[in-house]
């Protein structure tokens, strides 16, 4: 090709600037649009009344907030010990053999499976076979399956980042393996592990497909984790598809974006702490 290098440089630069600016503008526009249209509809009344249903989508989002909180609590109570425990096993105990490779491979594989396929599984197993019916519990157990590969990977990575020399020092001082894990590996890896846990909470907040088919979407106030429910994200879907209340959908979307912003802020601070800790600055 005998293009003039200077001309190509100019053309390419034009494209790159355009791509960068278009991408950032499109994304900022979406967030800005939802926030500016949704913010005015958020009031104390909107946050503290239940959705009334109907085509006009009267009412607020109080039961959706409560459902989301119930779901976060139920999911994390099961997911956190299971995911971290399994990751400790993989990072510290698992021998380097075929079975361990198989576990790692299945974790990798499931990390890419679409959410709705987990929903299908959760619907058949938790809703129907185990008779939890449409409930927060069924949704939470489905989310545990969905988020388990992610939490295992992030926890294992955080533990692998702890230098081997620190473990050897503890073992050389006569600590047992478990003492080494609880007093050396886990404390060093903690900010990284917590970052993973908080990202999972973000996942619970943002998820909709697998909850749409396992929680039933009733808009009433849940009384326990056996009630059906509707999270904020699923509520946005119902409002958009079944009512004319697009302003309320945008307001609910605004609440979601604010939650994600808070979660993002916390994880950013934590991962900075983690990097500083690994460099030995604290």
């Amino acid at each position: 090709m005998s293009f003039n290098p200077k001309l190509t440089q100019k053309l390419a630069w034009g494209f790159i600037w355009a791509a960068g600016i278009i991408t950032v503008l499109v994304l900022l526009f979406i967030i800005g649009y939802v926030l500016t249209k949704g913010m005015p509809a958020i009031s104390r009344e909107f946050l503290f009344t239940e959705p009334q249903g109907g085509l006009s989508g009267e009412g607020g989002i109080s039961s959706c907030i409560v459902s989301t909180l119930w779901l976060i609590a139920t999911t994390m109570v099961i997911l956190t010990p299971l995911g971290i425990g399994a990751a400790i096993y993989l990072a510290e105990y698992a021998p380097d053999n075929r079975f361990t490779h198989l576990i790692r491979y299945s974790v990798e594989l499931l990390a890419g499976v679409p959410s709705i396929v987990f929903g299908l599984f959760g619907f058949a197993v938790f809703v129907l076979a185990l008779h939890f019916s449409y409930s927060i519990l069924a949704g939470a157990l489905t989310l545990v399956c969905l988020l388990l590969p992610f939490l295992m990977r992030s926890t294992e990575e955080a533990m692998k980042a702890v230098p081997q020399s620190q473990r050897e020092a503890a073992l050389a001082l006569g600590a047992t393996k478990w003492q080494t894990i609880t007093h050396v590996s886990l404390p060093s890896a903690l900010p990284g592990i917590i970052t993973g846990v908080i990202l999972c909470i973000g996942g619970v907040v943002a998820e909709s497909a697998c909850l749409y088919v396992t929680m039933g979407g009733s808009s009433g106030m849940p009384t326990s984790f056996l009630s059906g429910g509707r999270t904020l994200a699923v509520h946005v879907f119902y409002l958009a598809m079944e009512t004319n209340a697009l302003d309320k959908a945008l307001a609910t979307g605004t609440v979601l974006i604010i939650l994600i912003l808070i979660i993002n802020f916390i994880t950013r601070r934590l991962s900075l702490r983690f990097q500083a800790k690994l460099r030995g600055e604290t």
Binding site: W13, G20, V34, Y93, A94, P114, V117, L148, A240
Partner: protein
């Protein structure tokens, strides 16, 4: 209790957790396979995959239209998204002034976490009416709307991972090329992009897998009619949307076919990952 006793007990407990986690993952696969069996045996995989008629009430269970809907929407999304995302990655990694990068990088990362229903909602409110006006017919719920929404959702993922891999290229490569008199674009085109292509491949594979698995945002903007996506201004239906819309009311053979749909999605994602892996290996050698 002696610390040696605790050590032994703890070892067993975490081993059990590891095995439970593995069993759950295996169980999901086995269960979906098991639930698919009645349809696979009763109707046959050929009739399901290549049947173009979907009338569950009349025992017509062909998912070809939805398979085409998923694939066309995803491919169209990639055509829009990949050039923009790579341009944006190069912009952020090589071209943008540091101050601009400090603002845009966290913004792009934040967007990965925004719930998909929010993208779907904005697509419904802004994009669909726009497409309806452009095409002059229908409500605007269409393959094109789905593709644009998917493209926007994939942008932050593809862009931020590609940017990371561009950053990982050793500075000597860049300096060497520039010292030989290459322009900055020549350096990017002939040195940086080829060195970072493994990461870029991984980014595109991840973005594609996400796009094909996206459900609720698709249900919101694609119109959900099980017809062939021959016209991008007309509605269609995706495999994911088919499961979400119908599973609650499905029984018997209908339900089993929906599990086959899930299995097909599972295999599609695995296929995309293996294509990515092959590309990755070929580039390595």
């Amino acid at each position: 209790m002696s610390r040696y006793f605790i050590d032994r007990i703890s070892r067993h407990i975490v081993s059990i957790f590891g095995i439970i986690a593995f069993l759950i993952l295996v169980l999901i696969f086995i269960f979906i396979l098991k639930e698919s069996l009645p349809a696979l045996q009763g109707i046959g995989i050929g009739d399901i995959l290549f049947g173009s008629k979907w009338y569950p009430s009349h025992e017509a269970f062909g998912i070809l239209t939805m398979l085409a809907g998923s694939v066309v929407a995803t491919l169209l999304a990639l055509v829009i998204s990949v050039p923009l995302a790579l341009g944006c990655a190069v912009f952020l990694a090589e071209v943008a002034p540091p101050r601009v990068r400090q603002i845009t990088r966290p913004a792009v990362e934040l967007l990965v976490g925004i719930p998909s229903v929010v993208y779907g909602l904005v697509g419904m409110i802004i994009l669909c009416p726009l497409i309806a006006r452009l095409s002059g017919t229908g409500s605007g719920s269409s393959v094109l709307a789905a593709a644009v929404v998917l493209a926007i959702m994939a942008l932050p993922t593809i862009s931020s991972i590609s940017e990371d891999s561009l950053h990982a290229v050793p500075a000597q490569y860049r300096e060497g090329a520039l010292a030989l008199g290459a322009t900055r674009w020549q350096t990017i085109h002939h040195v940086l992009l080829p060195s970072a292509r493994r990461g870029i491949t991984a980014a595109i594979v991840l973005g594609t897998g996400r796009a094909i698995g996206e459900t609720m945002a698709m249900v919101m903007v694609i119109g959900n009619s099980p017809i062939f996506p021959t016209n991008i201004f007309a509605p269609a239906r995706t495999l994911t949307g088919n499961i979400a819309v119908e599973i609650a009311s499905a029984t018997g053979m209908h339900e089993s076919v929906l599990f086959v749909t899930g299995l097909v999605l599972f295999i599609l994602v695995m296929l995309i990952n293996s294509i990515g892996l092959i590309a990755y290996r070929r580039q390595a050698s």
